[in-house]
């Protein structure tokens, strides 16, 4: 069975050179950059195989209903249909999930959200699939959906799932509970449901092994080994019988961490004995993956008259939707980041993640911390106003430092340059252009191409957001990563299961190998499950975890190389070091190129990189549950049309604590992209559900920022290498989304002098 792939522009990156040159600290262009721009990169949706069939999924039209009967006989009568599967056809575990396995492969008794999978078909053509799905008859007893999270908490709604309506409840109680005032500020903050809106839709190609003795799945995903574990369990096969190969990924942002079409594609391939490809369209994608948790947060800050925070009270309610996904971990992230990047020793927090008949919620860039930040930053501005300080000063007075503690009791041991971030951001130049720009281009005004305003209708505002984000997984989870490095004849080949979703790990790999080993040529091996896990490409963790694994493997290879050279030349290995592309004797005159030193030999080493263990939170929310932290500051400048409620974000200035920028170009890309998503959440992105029914599952109505909506971004990279981080580098992917949203909203508040406590901010919120 051959999978059709073209040239080196493959999603697996197999045989791709990791950038053409460049060491740690250089700006290295992505190997897939030009192919993606030219359209030759092979995304998972471009894969085909000889004689493949198309797969498609039947989905529930109701958010909550009892399934009385499913009759698939109509589908079987359609020419070209090769398989029709329902829950009865799942040979292994009937359910899956990242943390608790509570989501059925196919619904059999109840459907719990609109779009839940109920059956799958394989056929010769997508149109045949469409007709086959339409021919399946399902009789439902439609039930009133649970859509109000408060009813899941107060117990007034009967359980909609055997596991109950509360996914997790976590309190944090720390310090003196009697502290009150003297200054008290309070607010309730709400966040709508944001979608990850990646451009490369869900897609996979499943290839059955001869005799059905295993399956190979090429898929756009975030975590190959976790997929394999869940797929194998549902297929009733041992893990080794399931091989996962990375398909070209067109963005992820958390939405590919859960199983979507993986099990369905494998089941159909095994049933038909033929390759099966499934690709979602945009509407199915909106229903087929998890979203950012809609959330309501109440916070009350008690502070001194000088603006120092004394105690925080908070309550979080997160709508987890129909299935658990990562809700319990998202909740823990949210509640443990209640204080933001500020000192606070006394707190009382109550957090709930609950089940409803809305779309399932799970991972999205920022993972619970985005929600917390919108609230704590709103509070900081209220506090500033209450004590008569400006937003910068109140944040500086409370800024966290290394050695301070979270309200969980965990000490921040990482570099924590919060005050410096705020100061460096403040020092970045404000836009010099007036409203509308020097050229008076109406496109630059709020309303853009719609020409809704003239310059005199516009007011400008400035706002701040400062954030803290945990890096890596938490609560005793060992999200280790594995890398294998093989050097022969001056060429390093690196094998890993780290998923490249666009973040740039494929450039970092080469930079590490070149720097540590002195090789010039670095080749990436196929990204698949033929090596140990790399953990997920999420939680801003791959440069730290997989970069650390590659660095570790390179160091082992280098030790062996030094031993080899030392033996040949009768030296001590400790005398040797890499200088550029040479091996040199620091005590003598030997100097030879790494290529010459490795001629005719093969050195092959594998390294597993674990971070220090973390703990579960106890009853009172105490414990060292997180691995590490990064910090960021944002200042937004917005132009607002108060009468029409339209916004143009003009500029975002940011200083980010990156530890060390291993590839500055990539870091800037992450910052700009993260800010685009933060701006989107601030002013337009929301997947609407009314009574559990999705209202805007298209890109016509789910709006993401265009170029005209994207502000200028001015960046200061704050490089204080973190002693705990491999190569000193912190994760950079999530912080840009964490506090850019509150900064934009603060700027709108500043422009119009009105309290806004919900995102996305709608025009009617501004002008009503």
């Amino acid at each position: 069975m051959t999978v059709t792939q073209t040239g080196t522009d493959t999603g697996t990156f197999a045989g791709t050179h990791s950038g053409l040159a460049g060491r740690l600290g250089d700006s290295v262009a992505r190997p897939d950059g030009v192919p993606k721009a030219q359209g030759s990169f092979q995304f998972a949706g471009d894969l085909t195989a000889d004689g493949f069939l198309w797969g498609a999924t039947l989905r529930s039209p109701h958010p909550y209903a009892r399934i009385v009967r499913i009759d698939v006989s109509g589908a079987w009568r359609i020419n070209g249909v090769e398989a029709v599967l329902t829950a009865a056809d799942v040979p292994g575990k009937a359910t899956y999930g990242l943390i608790s396995h509570d989501q059925p492969v196919f619904a059999s008794d109840y459907v719990r959200f609109q779009g839940e999978a109920m059956a799958a078909v394989a056929a010769d053509h997508p149109d045949t699939c469409r007709r086959a799905l339409a021919a399946i008859v399902v009789e439902y007893e439609v039930l009133a959906p649970l859509t109000d999270p408060e009813r899941a908490i107060d117990g007034s709604f009967p359980p909609i799932h055997p596991d109950g309506n509360v996914v997790r409840h976590q309190r944090i109680v720390r310090g003196d509970q009697s502290i009150h005032g003297p200054v008290v500020v309070e607010g309730t903050y709400e966040l709508g449901r944001q979608d990850q809106a990646f451009l490369g839709l869900e897609a996979a190609l499943a290839l059955p092994a001869p005799g059905g003795d295993g399956v190979e799945l090429h898929v756009a995903t975030q975590w190959l080994h976790e997929d394999r574990k869940q797929i194998a369990a549902c297929l009733g096969m041992p893990d080794e019988k399931v091989r996962i190969v990375l398909g070209g990924v067109g963005g992820a942002f958390g939405a590919r961490e859960d199983i979507s079409l993986q099990v369905h594609a494998c089941l159909l391939a095994l049933r038909t004995g033929r390759p099966v490809k499934i690709q979602y369209d945009r509407e199915e994608s909106f229903h087929g993956h998890v979203h950012r948790h809609p959330c309501t947060i109440w916070m009350r800050h008690h502070a001194g008259t000088d603006g120092t925070i004394r105690r925080i009270e908070a309550r979080f309610v997160m709508d987890g939707g129909a299935y658990a996904s990562t809700s319990s971990a998202v909740l823990i992230n949210a509640v443990t980041h209640t204080q933001g990047p500020y000192r606070c020793d006394h707190a009382t927090v109550d957090g709930w993640a609950v089940r409803t008949n809305n779309l399932p919620s799970g991972a999205m860039r920022g993972f619970g911390v985005v929600q917390a930040a919108f609230a704590h930053e709103g509070q900081m501005d209220k506090l500033a106003a209450a004590v008569g300080l400006d937003p910068v000063e109140v944040r500086l007075r409370n800024a966290m430092r290394t050695g301070d503690h979270l309200i969980t009791g965990q000490e921040i041991v990482n570099v924590a340059p919060v005050a410096r971030l705020i100061q460096e951001t403040a020092a970045l130049a404000l836009p010099t252009e007036p409203v509308g720009g020097h050229d008076h281009d109406p496109m630059r005004l709020p309303g853009g191409a719609g020409r809704t305003a003239d310059e005199r209708h516009i007011v400008r505002g400035i706002g701040w957001g400062v954030g803290i984000k945990n890096l890596m997984y938490s609560e005793a989870f060992d999200d280790y990563s594995t890398a294998r490095v093989r050097v022969a004849d001056g060429v390093a080949t690196v094998k890993f299961a780290t998923v490249e979703v666009g973040q740039g790990f494929v450039t970092i790999v080469g930079q590490i190998a070149r720097t540590v080993l002195g090789v010039e040529e670095v080749v990436i091996d196929s990204i698949d499950t033929e090596i140990g896990s790399a953990g997920s490409t999420s939680a801003s963790r791959q440069t730290w975890m997989s970069g650390g694994a590659v660095e570790g493997a390179c160091r082992l290879v280098r030790e062996r190389l030094f031993e080899h050279v030392a033996e040949l030349h009768d030296l001590e290995a400790v005398q040797l070091e890499i200088d550029g592309t040479d091996v040199v004797d620091t005590l003598g005159s030997l100097r030879m190129s790494v290529a010459a030193a490795t001629a005719g030999i093969v050195i092959d080493e594998t390294f597993e990189h674990h971070h220090p263990a973390t703990e579960e939170l106890d009853e009172l929310g105490q414990g060292n549950c997180h691995t590490a932290f990064a910090f960021v500051a944002h200042r937004a400048v917005v132009d607002v049309d108060p009468e029409l409620g339209l916004v143009k974000v003009v500029q975002i200035a940011t200083a980010q604590d990156v530890g060390r920028a291993l590839n500055p170009l990539s870091v800037v890309g992450q910052i700009e992209g993260g800010i685009a998503q933060g701006v989107g959440l601030a002013v337009m992105e929301e997947l609407l559900q009314v009574d559990g029914i999705v209202k805007n599952a298209t890109f016509t109505d789910y709006l993401v920022p265009t170029f005209l909506d994207m502000p200028d971004v001015v960046i200061s990279l704050v490089e204080e290498p973190d002693p705990h981080a491999p190569m000193g580098a912190k994760g950079v992917g999530e912080p840009p989304t964490v506090s850019s949203t509150p900064a934009v909203v603060a700027a709108i508040r500043d422009a119009i002098g009105k309290d806004l406590h919900r995102v996305p901010v709608r025009p009617s919120d501004i002008c009503s």
């Binding site: 191409a449 719609g450 809704t452 337009m684 805007n696 016509t700 109505d701 170029f707 025009p763 009617s764």
Partner: protein
């Protein structure tokens, strides 16, 4: 299924006679979205984007004739933009450059969505829509052509040939509110056309009713109260004009906006457009 690519009107008519229920496709930017979403099933297709007679425009001094196949990128640029700025401004708000390169004014008319950006300008210009079939030609004022949301007076087998609009002396413009600065469906839109020779102000509203709405009361009020000679309107006139526009709207609540906001927005836009047309107090 058949796909016929017509290269002349005669070929298009022949194809339509053979397949009266065929789907006409110009740029395909409405049709293909519906097909891909499974909302529209096409049997036979007649492509009209290469029909020379449809893809041309003609300016004969007082009037401008735009063939149905004229694209938004043609309309947003000179010389058409200079003759009918209201349509040019509308054209600039349509989709993205890719969409404007293939999307046509005829397709906008064919779909006839209340949110179609070309339509308020056509309504305000009192455009005449030309239809033809092998049986003959007929011409309808825009107001009679659009009979409801996505409903037109066109009958099966008829082609939209084009529209005729007057080339007027006086300011004209189009404003559209959406929740994004580009590439967005109108939640409310307003076209305003002044005719200095006829001393009229015409106002049409989009996305706030089942069809494009002409605001005859606001128009009559403006004609009586603005100072055409000096390009002036008082603040009170502007605000009354806005109020009359608001009153003329018949908006609904949907997932894109509330009716209340839509009504508010057309008032604001109408007032601002009148001020642009009559900059002096």
């Amino acid at each position: 299924m058949s796909v016929i690519v017509a290269t002349s009107l005669a070929e298009a008519f022949a194809a339509l006679s053979a397949h009266p229920e065929a789907t006409l496709v110009a740029g395909g930017t409405d049709v293909m979205v519906e097909v891909n979403a499974g909302h529209r099933h096409v049997a036979d297709v007649v492509m009209v984007n290469r029909v020379g007679e449809l893809c041309t425009w003609r300016h004969d001094g007082a009037m401008l004739h735009l063939g149905a196949g004229v694209t938004w990128s043609q309309i947003e640029a000179a010389p058409i933009a200079e003759w009918v700025p209201v349509l040019a401004q509308a054209a600039r708000t349509v989709g993205s450059p890719q969409i404007r390169h293939v999307g046509t004014i005829g397709g906008n008319l064919g779909t006839c969505s209340p949110a179609g950006d070309g339509l308020p300008g056509l309504a305000a210009l009192d455009a005449v829509v030309h239809l033809a079939s092998p049986a003959g030609e007929r011409s309808l004022p825009f107001a009679e052509f659009m009979v409801g949301p996505k409903r037109t007076a066109r009958v099966a087998g008829e082609l939209i040939i084009g529209v005729t609009v007057p080339v007027l002396r006086g300011w004209q413009g189009y404003s559209k509110v959406g929740v994004r600065n580009a590439m967005v469906i109108a939640t409310a839109s307003v076209a305003l056309v002044t005719d200095l020779d006829g001393r009229t102000v015409r106002l049409a509203l989009g996305s706030v009713g089942p069809t494009i709405l002409r605001c005859t009361e606001a128009e009559a009020f403006a004609a009586a109260n603005v100072d055409f000679a000096n390009g002036a309107a008082s603040a009170a006139v502007v605000s009354e004009f806005a109020a009359l526009a608001r009153a003329a709207a018949r908006p609904i609540d949907d997932h894109r906006s509330t009716a209340e906001y839509r009504r508010h927005a057309v008032g604001v836009l109408a007032g601002r457009l009148l001020r642009r047309a009559f900059p002096n107090e």
